[in-house]
């Protein structure tokens, strides 16, 4: 991508985000049950979606890396984990804030929020592992293994938490709500998607540049030649 296209896309993402905030805060009507608190959903749900999307992409990158190693896949895995952690954190914080007026408590051990919290700790471990291993090859393979294990754990965690305690009844997908709310949610979902793309691409390039710095072989010295012992 050329530089003007990149800058243009960044501006586009910002515009989507700003307009999305206006739509969510002012244009969309308040919910019959939850009143204005419902507006938190326009940020919370897209953030959660982006976190899950990042986790899925991380899983894909990890599997693909073990299939055939490449620094690009490793860099992409690093980017998805970090950006996913960001969106996941936002989603959890917003979920807790939404829970306070709705459920009366910040944390109600709702299976989806709890799974997300466990996932965040797991990805924090993933990123810590990446930081604590210096050898790029080892780091790439080991973090790919850890990434696969975390991703495989997600449904198991979800089921176990659901069985352990279930509180979450209302499914907040567009189908159950007012058309204006659907538009607000979709608009913000696309805004977050644009931001996600900007973040992923940027973080990926940072990671790839770091990999290249780590793995470029210095030139052979002048006068070095092959040794043949016979």
């Amino acid at each position: 991508m050329s530089k003007p296209v990149r800058i243009g896309f960044v501006l586009f993402a910002i515009a989507l985000l700003v307009s999305g905030a206006w739509i969510g805060l002012a244009w969309a009507p308040p919910d019959r049950e939850m009143g204005h608190v419902q507006r938190i959903m326009y940020m919370h749900v897209p953030a959660a979606w982006m976190a899950l999307l990042s986790a899925t992409m991380n899983f894909g990158a990890c599997v693909s890396y073990l299939w055939k190693a490449s620094w690009k896949k490793d860099a992409f895995a690093e980017a998805t984990a970090e950006v996913g952690l960001l969106f996941g954190t936002i989603a959890i914080l917003l979920g807790a804030i939404w829970g306070r007026p709705t459920w009366g408590v910040y944390w109600a051990w709702d299976p989806r929020l709890t799974t997300m919290a466990i996932l965040l700790v797991a990805y924090a471990g993933y990123l810590a592992l990446r930081r604590f291993v210096d050898d790029p090859d080892r780091r790439a393979v080991w973090s790919a293994v850890v990434g696969i294990i975390i991703a495989v754990d997600v449904p198991v965690v979800y089921f176990s938490v659901k069985w352990w305690k279930s509180l979450h009844q209302v499914q907040s997908t567009p189908r159950t709500v007012d058309p204006q709310m659907v538009i607000a949610l979709r608009w913000n979902a696309f805004a977050f998607l644009a931001v996600l793309i900007v973040f992923l691409v940027t973080r990926y390039r940072i990671a790839l540049a770091a990999r290249m710095r780590e793995t470029t072989v210095p030139d052979a010295p002048a006068g070095a030649r092959e040794a043949v012992a016979s």
């Binding site: 592992l129 080892r138 080991w142 293994v145 850890v146 696969i148």
Partner: protein, 228 residues
């Protein structure tokens, strides 16, 4: 040159791991007293309400085992790191899956033994009654320890060669073990409290599927971990 097969190598290495544990039984004893101390600490931290303690006994058992497992796993890879013996095995060459299976089974056996020893302590200390058949409890403990051992061995091998390994192992291991912890602790609580709703089998099923998933993943991924 003919090499021993997967099961034969696993058997050789498993006996080696058990022998090592037996030789360093002072450390194993220390592990036992560590988990006893954690049980005591839970009781003290949560006050003298015996009814509450009895109700939470299943959770204490698994928390004690989980904390002990981090030490046991760290120790089992410290022994291998001392003279780079893991690399030595790899260069023999030994099938990496045999290394994984032997280590994971040895760790599971160690933890299950520890769990078995903790049960009478729970009975005596917290006045716990074993309502369901004891065999079910022992089976649950074995399943739970298998669940800890498979990802634990995989992560132990990774963490033992990273910086800050003592922090890294629990940080990586604990989040993914939550389903196993939930299933094992709930199942144990049912053993202690009785199971009028017949929920015990579903927790066992959850634990079993966790075991199958992670033993499969371990066998699949461990060679990649030690190859680097």
């Amino acid at each position: 040159m003919r090499r021993p097969g997967l099961l034969a190598s696993t058997w050789v290495l498993f006996r080696k791991d058990l022998l090592l544990e037996w030789r360093s039984r002072a450390r194993v004893n220390a592990l036992l007293f560590f988990s006893l101390a954690t049980l005591l600490l839970f009781s003290f931290a949560l006050g003298p309400d015996t009814a509450l303690l009895r109700r939470n006994a299943g959770g204490y058992l698994w928390l004690a085992l989980l904390l002990a497992s981090v030490l046991a796993l760290g120790e089992s890879f410290r022994v291998e790191r001392e003279n780079a013996t893991l690399e030595g095995l790899r260069l023999v060459p030994v099938n990496a899956r045999a290394i994984f299976l032997a280590k994971a089974v040895a760790n599971a056996v160690l933890l299950a033994g520890l769990g078995g020893l903790l049960v009478p302590v729970l009975v005596a200390l917290l006045d716990v009654r074993i309502v369901l058949p004891v065999g079910q409890l022992l089976g649950l403990i074995l399943l739970g320890c298998l669940a800890i051992a498979a990802p634990g061995t995989l992560y132990g091998a990774i963490a033992s060669h990273a910086r800050a390994r003592d922090v890294l192992l629990p940080l990586l291991l604990f989040p993914i073990l939550i389903p196993a912890l939930v299933a094992a602790a709930k199942g144990t609580a049912l053993v202690f409290e009785g199971d009028p709703m017949g929920q015990f089998p579903s927790w066992v099923a959850l634990l079993t599927s966790f075991d199958l998933i992670y033993w499969g993943l371990g066998v699949l991924l461990f060679p990649r971990v030690v190859e680097e």
